[in-house]
């Protein structure tokens, strides 16, 4: 643990330097993705970026489709910042940060139309597969957004359907098929932070106390943007947003390389 004041971080950023000696646009090491860590979930991963660790679990269930989309399944993403992951978190209902985390990851996947929802429908207006992804942080050492986005994409890629008997309508969760989700695109969010007018990625917890503005950019493998989320108090100019998006696309490519 390091205690340092905000001005130090801001001054270092001006000189293209960081507390831990990394370059401004360099991710921490190791970036580790461990799959199939839980027997009971349809998909599960553990993602580590530096000291930040997050778990993602995916469950599938058959439910009645929504009235306005009778031929589509659905997806829901939840995030929980458990007290174990940092001294700033308390037990209880999800706070602002947890809600934002879940919403940003959810929007990136939903708006990219990453999953072919029509293929999740079994009987029109009656039965469709619904996907739930739960994100649980084990350690927050900064940059949860990128870690959560990476975990969500990894778990979508890894998950397999459980055995389903259409006549009886019974799902056998203990038997797994080898059928993967109908994933069309692979959206991945990358958060770019602004400190002293400089652009940085993969902030540590100390640096997160000192940023002025941040923009999360979710893009798929072709570089098509699906979601943006701005945070922090300082404004961003159009030129800055252009630079942020270029950097985010480059870093998304790098993270996608880690996923394979």
């Amino acid at each position: 643990m390091i205690i340092v004041n905000k001005e130090t971080i801001a001054q270092l950023a001006l000189q293209d330097k960081r507390l831990d000696g990394r370059g401004l646009t360099e991710y921490r090491t190791p970036i580790a993705i461990e799959t199939n860590i839980s027997k009971t979930a349809e998909g599960s991963v553990r993602v580590q970026i530096g000291q930040t660790i997050i778990l993602a679990g995916l469950k599938m269930a058959i439910e009645k489709p929504y009235n306005d989309t009778p031929d589509e399944g659905g997806i829901m993403i939840n995030a929980e910042l458990v007290p174990l992951s940092g001294p700033q978190y308390e037990p209880g209902p999800p706070g602002k940060k947890a809600v934002e985390l879940a919403r940003v990851v959810d929007r990136g996947i939903r708006e990219a139309k990453a999953i072919d929802m029509k293929k999740l429908c079994l009987v029109q207006g009656e039965k469709a597969w619904f996907i739930t992804i739960d994100l649980v942080t084990l350690n927050d050492a900064g940059n949860l957004l990128d870690a959560a986005g990476l975990a969500a994409l990894a778990v979508l890629k890894e998950a397999v359907f459980p055995a389903y008997e259409p006549h009886t309508g019974v799902i056998d969760y203990k038997t797994k098929t080898d059928q993967h989700l109908p994933l069309i695109k692979e959206p991945l969010p990358v958060t770019v932070y602004k400190i002293s007018g400089q652009l940085l990625v993969d902030l540590t917890s100390q640096e997160e106390d000192a940023f002025e503005a941040r923009l999360t950019v979710a893009s798929d493998e072709k570089g098509i943007l699906s979601a943006l989320q701005k945070g922090g108090e300082a404004p961003l100019s159009i030129e800055e947003i252009d630079r942020i998006i270029d950097l985010a696309l480059e870093k998304a490519k790098f993270l996608r390389g880690q996923l394979k």
Binding site: I2, I3, Q15
Partner: protein, 223 residues
């Protein structure tokens, strides 16, 4: 009658160290009927007839004369309340904070404000573990800039080394100003590269403190 442990053995709480009245219980040990037991997890050491255990884990226990790095958490009428990185908070009185005369109506936050870090010395610890601090001793000051890192308090003696050998080595090689608090907080100030190198070296000492040839390893790391 007999010793049940050897010098530098790792002992656990409740482990019998010696039997009979030939030995005396020292630091972190207690006697129950005929036997002497360890109170903590640590290394046993025998000096003459006295048995003591050097603790390897657990929190920092405040002791008079220790130089610590701590944080101002509140301002009161006559001084500051200070977080010492232990279970107990400390008081720093105005008269112990500075040698300068302070007028009655003066704003105390101009001297030390909430969130500031200071190097202070423990001058008194009551039986209730209330701590009194002083900044009048030489080397006590408010910390400006640099970075503060936290290490296991039981590794502090290893970071300092014999007669300060380890810390002098790190200071010289990295050209960094370093102050080690007995409560496990260490303040580093120098160039960003020097600070980082010194921080890594200190963590290396913390990690490898039980191994032989530590000084050589650190020399190698820093060269």
């Amino acid at each position: 009658m007999s010793l049940l442990t050897k010098e530098r053995d790792i002992v656990i709480p409740g482990e019998a160290l010696a039997e009979g009245m030939d030995y005396l219980p020292g630091e972190n040990t207690y006697r129950e009927s005929e036997k002497i037991y360890s109170k903590v997890l640590g290394l046993a050491s025998i000096t003459g007839r006295v048995l003591k255990v050097t603790s390897l884990s657990g929190p920092y226990i405040p002791r008079v004369g220790d130089k610590i790095i701590c944080k101002v958490t509140d301002i009161t009428f006559s001084g500051w309340r200070i977080d010492t990185n232990t279970a107990y908070s400390a008081m720093l009185n105005v008269k112990d904070a500075t040698a300068r005369f302070i007028r009655k109506e003066e704003d105390l936050s101009k001297i030390l404000s909430i969130g500031d870090y200071v190097v202070a010395m423990i001058v008194n610890v009551t039986s209730q573990n209330l701590i009194d601090l002083s900044m009048k001793e030489p080397g006590m000051h408010k910390l400006l800039g640099g970075r503060i890192i936290k290490i296991n308090t039981h590794k502090v003696p290893r970071v300092i080394g014999k007669q300060g050998s380890m810390i002098t080595l790190i200071k010289e090689r990295t050209q960094t100003e370093i102050t080690v608090g007995q409560n496990g907080l260490i303040w580093l100030k120098g160039t960003p590269e020097g600070e980082l190198k010194a921080e890594q070296a200190i963590h290396l000492v913390e990690e490898k403190s039980h191994l032989e040839g530590l000084t050589e390893k650190i020399q190698q790391f820093l060269s």
